[in-house]
């Protein structure tokens, strides 16, 4: 087993990453930059950092098959059990998976829904979306390369479930942003 280290400064780096995720969830579409990690292929730095920050022994994890090469690293650093999508707390995918396959919470306990970390090609250029909802005084524009062409329509089905629904964290290279279930998305 070839293992590499996680964060350079485990406590400070994880706290900084947590703050970024928190802020990205509060202000959907805002881009944050991650430092202090060397990611194992095929994960990018942001995906690896978010995983180390959020997942642990008590958060069952679903991994899409394309992340196989990083599986040992993920198991070692998070200690999370690898489970089927419908039992997961977090998911990691290199392409948008079918959102219907994940727990989307209940009306009494909406917090039991899964959060999926989707690694995309770019968060700087590509297909443009208009985001609106809580945390956004004015509608915001987000450009993404690597989501399906009909993403806005797929998302609106998830958004309609509110307060239930899946939350997404999009990662590309060292950048990340978040799309909580509360945000409404249209093609720009």
């Amino acid at each position: 087993m070839t293992l590499s280290a996680g964060f350079t400064n485990p406590v400070a780096d994880a706290q900084a990453c947590f703050r970024s995720v928190l802020d990205a969830m509060a202000r959907p579409g805002r881009i944050h930059t991650i430092t202090g990690i060397v990611a194992p292929a095929p994960l990018c730095e942001a995906t690896a950092a978010v995983l180390l920050t959020l997942a642990d022994h008590e958060t069952p994890l679903w991994l899409d098959s394309s992340t196989k090469a990083a599986r040992d690293w993920i198991a070692f650093h998070t200690g999370a059990a690898i489970v089927p999508a419908d039992r997961s707390t977090f998911g990691v995918a290199l392409a948008l998976p079918d959102l219907a396959g994940f727990p989307n919470g209940t009306d009494e306990m909406p917090e039991t829904a899964a959060t999926i970390i989707v690694q995309v090609d770019s968060l700087e250029a590509g297909q443009r979306f208009v985001l609106a909802g809580p945390g956004l005084r004015e509608p915001a524009i987000l450009a993404v390369t690597g989501l399906p062409p009909d993403f806005a329509a797929l998302w609106q089905r998830n958004h309609a479930l509110f307060p239930r629904g899946i939350d997404l964290i999009l990662c590309a290279g060292v950048r990340l942003t978040a799309l909580p279930r509360s945000v409404s998305i249209k093609d720009a």
């Binding site: 087993m1 642990d56 022994h57 008590e58 040992d72 198991a75 070692f76 200690g79 059990a81």
Partner: protein, 355 residues
Amino acid sequence: MAYVAIKGGEQAIDNAHAWLAEERRGDTATPALSVSQIQEQLGRSVDRVMAEGSLYDRELAALAIKQAQGDLIEAAFLLRAYRTTLPRFAHSVAVETGSMRIERRVSAIFKDLPGGQVLGPTYDYTHRLLDFSLLGDETVAPETETAAGHVGTMPRVPDILGHEGLLEADAPSSREPGDLTREPLTFPAERDVRLQALARGDEGFLLGLGYSTQRGYGGSHPFAGEIRMGEVSVEIEPAELGFDIDIGDLIMTECQMVNQFKGSKTVPPQFTRGYGLVFGFGERKAMAMALVDRAMRAAELGEDVTAPAQNVEFVLYHSDNIEATGFVEHLKLPHYVDFQSELQNVRRMRKEAAE
């Protein structure tokens, strides 16, 4: 109706804390108490704080006792608060109390059981007379008597008695046990959750409840089948290794209470059992826990549920001293507005009565 935020008193609070620190230290002419002294010489306090704080760490428990000026509930509270800051790496494999390295083991139901009756460092048979020699810094005879005979591991009483079928057998299951530190208490509570709540419950509360069952409130005619104390090793299976590893020893106390049972439509008359297991040397707590565990099994065994100790909701909602102290002590926080409204009510009612 909204809450009214009131500011003020910050200076008073700072001064109160400063005075508290001074009071904690006491007269500086007396040497300061070290954490290792508490750990070594107040071991039973450490054990109790670990059990009720639900965290096994002797040094941290001793520190909490020092910080709380020996207030053991406050110390358990400190330990619980600290525990929430740590990530959980794993769940252990269930500890094997049958492999305990015995330091004390007694049975009140069999005189000559395999392994024998081992008293260990017990207060039983002391005369409960104050020992004035302890007023000084007395020296203890360095070596207690040792005997060549070996005390290692011993079979547990249920294993010895189980063969005849007169004693209820354990019912193993592979179900993942509930966890009160992760999911809030819900009812009906299964035995796994009940045992977790009892293990971290207040010793005094459980002692009183256990006593009540002996005095006829849900009488179940108990015998101390076995009490054992000693070191038990803890094993975990880390994901990256894929096999069990031994990570060290914990001191634990286990109690098997044996109770006569008249039988039911499906079960012949036999002895049933109540179970107690606690961190540290906690014989009184383990015995009380076993009595209350058995009392709470009344419904499962088809007995009438009449007494407080048999009422699962009553016991579990009130056994946690951290929750209890929080709710009782919150009464001293400002209730100015609540009281004003009550005052108005009483004035109005008196006025109406007078008219």
